[in-house]
Amino acid sequence: MFELLSFGPNGWGGQLLGGAAMTVAVSLSSFALGLVFGSLGASAKLSRNVALNALAEVYTTIVRGVPELLVIYLLFFGGGGIVMAIGRVFGYEGYIELNAFTVGVVAVGLISGAYSTEVIRGAVQAVPHGQIEAARACGMNRWLILRRILVPQTMRYALPGLGNVWQLTLKDTALISVTALAEIMRVAHVAAGSTRQPFLFYTTAAALYLVLTTVSTAAFERAERRANRGVRRA
């Protein structure tokens, strides 16, 4: 039975490892995209512009209140249409097809971004206001304050929350197996179908996810320790 998991010609070991690599690649890309959406969302929520506030509020409410699977279906079946509509605005009339990787990263990135928005917003608000005032009193301009005072401290406050978002993102990538992208779940599904050993392959998939979540928990713990190296524990 275990030779099915080996790396030989009859084994699925190579494909499963490839699937794990794909899962990591999709997760990292989605998480990074989510950080971009999250930063934009957080600055929109914290701005004094009412329209931007409302836009960010709509984004986080919808994406966090609707099942991930629906968001993925929306982009998988409708993503090409959106891109072609944008293309037409710029005068491109051709047919555009998105590959499964792009669709998956954008879909999971959108979901990840909605959660990151709240985490980053909270972290920005956790920076004591006196520090901003002090920086202003030193004559720093807005960008310098952002770069030297706000961002470094926000990163520290946001780390634990972003760790949770990363775990969610990692697990959400399993859902894009419905778009036939060859990540862990998809490989396990195909292998289970062709060998008639579903229990073996889904258990292996679960074990691979456990390894990924455990390793990333440890990585985030290290990052937090490093980010807090200048902070005295109460």
Partner: protein, 229 residues
């Protein structure tokens, strides 16, 4: 935007609401029982039980729900022993497989919420109850549990919303709840946006009602906070 199609899809998609509610309701009910048992075992002081429950929580929180659903629906049927047993009447039904997976999943998350809440009960309250001569079970029933449940409600509200969303994964094992029906209509009509808007609105409404319900329960359980003023 095809308004007519959008309007016509409303009753069809609403037809999925009972299945979604059944999935969520039963999973939360059974999940609460699992969580209660798991949290108590986790705090029992018995090292074997504690390890076992820690492992259960670790596995179910560390893997995607989709793996858990597939493992139960496709994986268990692989064994002759399972197919021969009385359990097979349940496990060959996608509905009960989904319920089992959702129950074990929410049970793991909720047991951690409950454990944290039990640990957060102020020591002074327990000492006071002991000083009044309450037995261990009476103390737990009258003091620890009510305070813990009140304490855990906000976090549990999040878990309820997560469950409403998680129930959509049941569509991957052929169940026709809201997302399953939405997928079917999209495949037939290619009206992706129209269907997304209707199905999404139904979920938003369900989640809004769920959060209101939890908010109300919280309000009911904290009369001492509103006595003033």
């Amino acid at each position: 935007m095809n308004w007519e199609l959008m309007w016509d899809s409303v009753p069809t998609l609403l037809g999925g609401v009972p299945v979604t509610l059944e999935l969520v309701g039963l999973a939360l009910l059974f999940g609460a029982a699992v969580a209660f048992a798991a949290a108590l075992l986790r705090l029992s002081g018995n090292p074997v039980a504690e390890r076992l429950m820690a492992a259960y929580v670790f596995v179910f929180r560390g893997t995607p729900l989709l793996v858990q659903i597939f493992l139960i629906y496709y994986g268990l049927g692989q064994f002759e022993a399972v197919r021969g047993s009385f359990l097979w009447t349940f496990l060959r039904e996608p509905f009960w497989c989904a319920i089992l997976a959702l129950t074990l999943n929410t049970g793991a998350y909720t047991s951690e919420i409950l454990r944290g809440a039990i640990l957060s009960v102020p020591q002074g309250q327990i000492e006071a109850a002991r000083a009044c001569g309450m037995s261990r079970t009476l103390l737990f029933r009258r003091i620890v549990l009510p305070i813990a449940i009140r304490q855990m409600l906000p976090a549990y509200g999040n878990e309820v919303i997560l469950m409403v969303k998680a129930s959509s994964l049941a569509s991957t094992i052929t169940l026709l709840e809201i997302t399953g029906i939405a997928r079917k209509i999209i495949a037939q009509t290619f009206a992706v946006f129209e269907i997304f808007i209707v199905a999404g609105s139904i979920y938003l409404l369900l989640n809004f009602l769920a959060s209101r319900l939890i908010r109300y329960a919280e309000w009911r359980m904290t009369p001492y906070l509103r006595a003033r003023g």
